[in-house]
Structures are given as C-alpha cells and as structure tokens.
Symmetry: C2
Subunit: 204 residues, 2 copies
DNA sequence: TCAGATACTGTACACAAGTACAGTATTCTT
DNA sequence: AAGAATACTGTACTTGTGTACAGTATCTGA
C-alpha cells in the first residue's frame, strides 16, 4: 500500500470514524463539509486517491458506497446470554441480553448461528484461567473433546466445567477447575450447552 | 420494545447482516429486491414498523439512513501491535499490524487515542491468568497502581509484568507472575508502555 | 526543468434513494 | 363484528448523491 499523505490520512480517519459512529459511511458532501471544502470534488479526489493507493474501495453509483476498505475488519455479532435456557431456541437474539461484536481476525474463527456468549459467574474455572465476570464465547452443538471447557446447565444455571473423558469408550465427566469445588459430575445427566472457544475479559 | 412479527424479524436480520457485510445499511429498494417486493414501499412499511417498535432508527432524508438501532452496539477499533515501539508515536494505525474491533459494552470502557492492543508472547503472566497468544488491551499514559499488569519494553520486546509498589513512597518494581521467571526488575529503568485493561482469548 | 501528483474551486448532470399518496387483501385484537 | 395492524402493489415526486468536465495553485520526484 502506497504511503498516504497527511491530508489523505485525515480523510481516511474521518471516513472510518464516521462509519463506526453513524453506521454508514459519509457521503462526499459530508466529507467536504467536515473539512470545509466548497466542492464535493475535493472529497472525491481524496477518495479516488485513497482507492488508488488501496486504502479503501468504492461501489460506483451507490449512495454512500465508499469506505469499504479491502482489509476492513469484518465484524460479527454474537448474542450474549446471562444464563442460556435449556432449550436454546434457534431464534437467536430474541431473548439475548445483548450482543458481543468483534472482528473475525481477533476472534480467530467464524461463528455460526449456534454460537453464543455467556457471562461467567463464579470462580470455578480459575484453574483454566477463566475468571468471574469474563465473557466466554461458546459453540452449541459441537462435540466436546477431552479437556474442552463446556457450558453445562446445572440447577437451572449455566456453569463452566472441564469435559473429561479418559478414553474413547470411557464415561464422560465434568470437572470444576478449582480446589474449592472438587465435585465430579456425570456428563450424561446434564445438558451440555456449548464448548468454550473464546474469551473476553474487561476491567482488569 | 414491542414484539416483532416473523416477517419484521426477517427484515431486521437482513438489515443488520447487510450492514455488517457491506459496511453500509441497505437501501429500501435493496431490501425490496432481497424479499421480492415489487414496491419500495413494502420495505418502507417494514422499516417504519421496526422504527415504531424501537428496533431501529432512521435519519430522514439521508441515503441509507436506516439501520442505526438505538441500542445498536457501538464499536471501536483499537490498533494492534506485535511489539510496541519505544516511541509509541501518536500516529496510531500507521504501523499497526491490525485492529481489534469490539463493541463498547463488551469492552467495558471507552478507549482513547492512546489505547492499543498487544499480542502476548510467553507464559510469564499465567499467575494472573494471561496466557501465551492472548490479546491484551492496554492504555498508554495511565499511571500504574500497585498490582496492575503493565506492558514494559524489555530487551526491545514488549513483555507483561505486574507493577509492584508496596507503599506510596516505595520503589516500584516489575514482577513476572510465573515461578519459572522469578526476576524482579526495577521499574524506573524500563519503559512502561501501558496498563492492561482488557483481554481477548481465542481458540481455547 | 518538467511532468505528474496533490489539493482544491465551481458548475452541471443523471441516477440512486427517500418520500407521498392511493389502493387491496389478510390477520390480529378487542 | 369492527377497527387496527400487517403485508403488500403501483405510480410519481423530490432530494440526496455520485459523477463529469473545466480550471487554478502548490509541491514533489525524476
């Protein structure tokens, strides 16, 4: 990518910021108004230069077609629950408490319709470096392997546990990763809601 | 928020998905085309109903003014570095390796221009539940307090350490949180680049 | 030194897109 | 049973917006 001039970097920064804030990229005249240009063409020249240098792409003829950079981080929204209900209807964001929005690069994988987020309560998984208040990303329906951290419904509340199966035909157990909770629960009697595949921690 | 009909939920889902994918919300005619409507007013009726029910807001008169929901998660982009250079120029995303995009609700605070992300290398902070490969969010310029995890430049590489200062006038130290690295380093001789305030873990 | 890129002003045009008004059939609620 | 909301069709108007063409001044690299 060719180097941008100071002015071009300013314009690019405004475009990205405006799209993040407004939900749509600015029009050429909005760019012109922001920088005091008296002609929409001043903004257009900058956009064309940015496009030529690979900093963004445009969709010709479309209103607000600028701003979609080729390396633009693509974000996904993952519904977040306090406690996942037993059924886990596919209705998705219906009764979710909110959404986790994150870009695919950082997340590391592409979530599906059965991916959800869960706020962790309790410190039963400190041994796996998952703390109280963390938000874990889970995949529903994936078959858990030995050592995976899973979300299970215990006493009408989602709790994280380690999935333990010593051999291919051995019985599966759930184990808390905290000496204070030495319980070992048979996995077959519980509803495993998802396998933990990611984590977000805030306010450390 | 009033309950949405199945059709309205479909339209809302399309609007959100299209904006995530394209970077701009769809026009009324694009919605109509997606659902096979022969009139842009069919889409407009749905958008008005969704607006009336509080599912989204519109900016009248603006092209692609729909899709900005009131509870729409506002995202921020935080430049991500492999190793933070000593100077840490304010130029921001210039030499960043990428961006972490995340919504403010999940992040838990509003980042400033001196907020950056760092990929963790090594397991020197497992005692604080920060693992190799984690991405930590740091704030540059904030004064570290006792117990904070900080990013410090040691041997031309950013490393995480715990900031230790026993009393108000005591000397500050940096401590690794791993028995294998028992080194205690004087903080004054090192460049503290930022205080860790968040974390993202992937591919657990 | 000279061509090209940068950084604009100014006017005008064509199309994309929001909007208005009129109308129909079905479903839901009271 | 009545009224409102839902879920559209169809046409037309107006504005927002991308685009084209013409022109000026400054700066930068070959």
């Amino acid at each position: 990518m060719a180097k941008l001039t100071a002015r071009q970097a300013e314009v690019l920064e405004f475009i990205e910021t405006a799209r993040d804030a407004e939900g749509a990229p600015p029009s050429l005249r909005e760019i012109a108004a922001r920088f005091g240009f008296r002609s929409p063409n001043a903004a257009r020249d900058h956009v064309r230069a940015l496009e030529r240098k690979g900093a963004l792409t445009t969709r010709p003829g479309r209103a607000r077609g600028i701003g979609a950079g080729p390396g633009r981080p693509r974000t996904v929204r993952i519904p977040r629950f306090g406690t996942v209900p037993a059924g886990f209807a596919e209705g998705r964001e219906q009764d979710a408490e909110g959404c986790v929005v994150i870009d695919l690069d950082t997340l590391g994988f592409t979530p599906g319709p059965r991916t959800f987020a869960l706020q962790v309560r309790g410190d039963s998984m400190v041994g796996r470096h998952i703390l109280d208040g963390d938000i874990v990303i889970c995949e529903h329906g994936r078959t858990p392997r030995h050592g995976d951290v899973v979300a299970a419904l215990i006493d009408h509340e989602s709790t994280l546990k380690t999935f333990v199966r010593e051999g291919p035909r051995a019985r599966a157990w759930l184990r808390a990763e905290n000496p204070a909770y030495p319980r070992l629960l048979p996995a077959a009697e519980l509803v495993i809601q998802g396998v933990v595949v990611g984590l977000v921690r805030r306010r450390i």
